[in-house]
Subunit: 187 residues, 2 copies
DNA sequence: GTCACCATGTAAATAGTTACATGATTTG
DNA sequence: CAAATCATGTAACTATTTACATGGTGAC
């Protein structure tokens, strides 16, 4: 139920074609709700059928032709209604935590390397978010209307901060564990 | 690809029936990889077919009868191999962030209430994790073999801490926004 | 013996991923 | 015009969720 509303939000900010949406998802909304271009095309078709969006009139609507969509009033209403809906909080569902837990039972294989790889990735994601924050939300110029967008970005920053700290901590703990093993092996 | 390995891990810790697994998922592994009993039954069937687990011999294997499974050597090997595998880090994919982002475009409906509800839920989840930590990982008694399990739990604690802080912060920001609106309205 | 609950399962729908097909436009 | 890239789309598969079906066991 989330993808169509993600698309409506993106289209309200700026009418776009399917591929443009896919690219913008990579840059902003996709940070917390990713989608492939196939998902997006399928969903655009459904939204058009349901009368929530429409294709902007263009020359010939053919296969290789760009097709731009805009949100209709019904679409805006649907999004407004959805905003006050409710979900259960999502549990994390991260395979890395699962691998760690499995490692507690069958032993850590090349897991440390994977943790370091993730640490690097999360660090650069964090740097990217901070750059966006500096660019789009400079201190003392945070207008009322942007506070929600800023809150979402702070969510991303908080999450990446958590991951980098946790990964660094966990790598340290693993390192100590290996040192203990080494000591035992040498005795 | 994660669910079968979650099940193998749980079964290695203790041979169980499908429903027992479903219940144990609710309490430990399910905190970061949830699954319904239907998913678990189906996956148990596949794992048995693939020769990674087997049903413990019991009286009559009938419909309403409990059926316990244990992991075979091939299953342990498969899990060991999987531990050193690799995934891309999961982006968050949380509808709440999406609603917030949508609210930046069509206005915040009853969203504040939803944020408060989530804050409560995350607070009690955090309290639960901390209770588990005190019970299972008392200071100075943290054996080498439990360090990985403790790391996973600290992951949960870190995430819940992030959410409670972010939600509290965001509610404050929303409150200020509303006060501004109030002031404007009164002028 | 019936009601509540334990236990296993089937079926159908929705969501998401991966691989590939096809036409249009731009660039050398 | 050939190659690269833009753009839309189909198909098949895997994963997840939701609703329901069926039998077994123990408490009253």
């Amino acid at each position: 139920m989330s993808l169509p509303h993600a698309i409506l939000t993106a289209l309200l900010e700026k009418p776009s074609s399917g591929l443009e949406l896919a690219r913008r998802f990579d840059k902003s909304i996709g940070y917390f709700w990713s989608a492939t271009h196939q998902q997006i095309y399928r969903e655009l078709g459904k939204l058009e059928q349901d009368g929530l969006i429409r294709a902007l009139p263009a020359g010939a609507p053919a296969r290789g032709q760009k097709k731009e969509y805009e949100v209709l009033p019904a679409g805006r209403d649907a999004l407004t209604a959805w905003v006050s809906g409710s979900d259960a909080p999502r549990p994390v569902r991260d395979p890395l935590l699962l691998r760690l837990r499995a490692a507690a039972v069958v032993g850590t294989g090349g897991l440390e390397e994977e943790l370091r790889r993730h640490l690097d990735l999360h660090r650069s994601q964090l740097a990217e978010y901070r750059a966006i924050e500096e660019r789009d939300f400079p201190p003392e110029r945070d207008g009322e209307e942007d506070r929600l967008r800023h809150a979402v970005l702070r969510g991303g920053i908080g999450l990446e901060t958590f991951w980098t700290e946790w990964l660094a901590e966990t790598l340290t703990a693993l390192g100590e564990r290996n040192e203990e093993k080494e000591r035992k092996r040498r005795q």
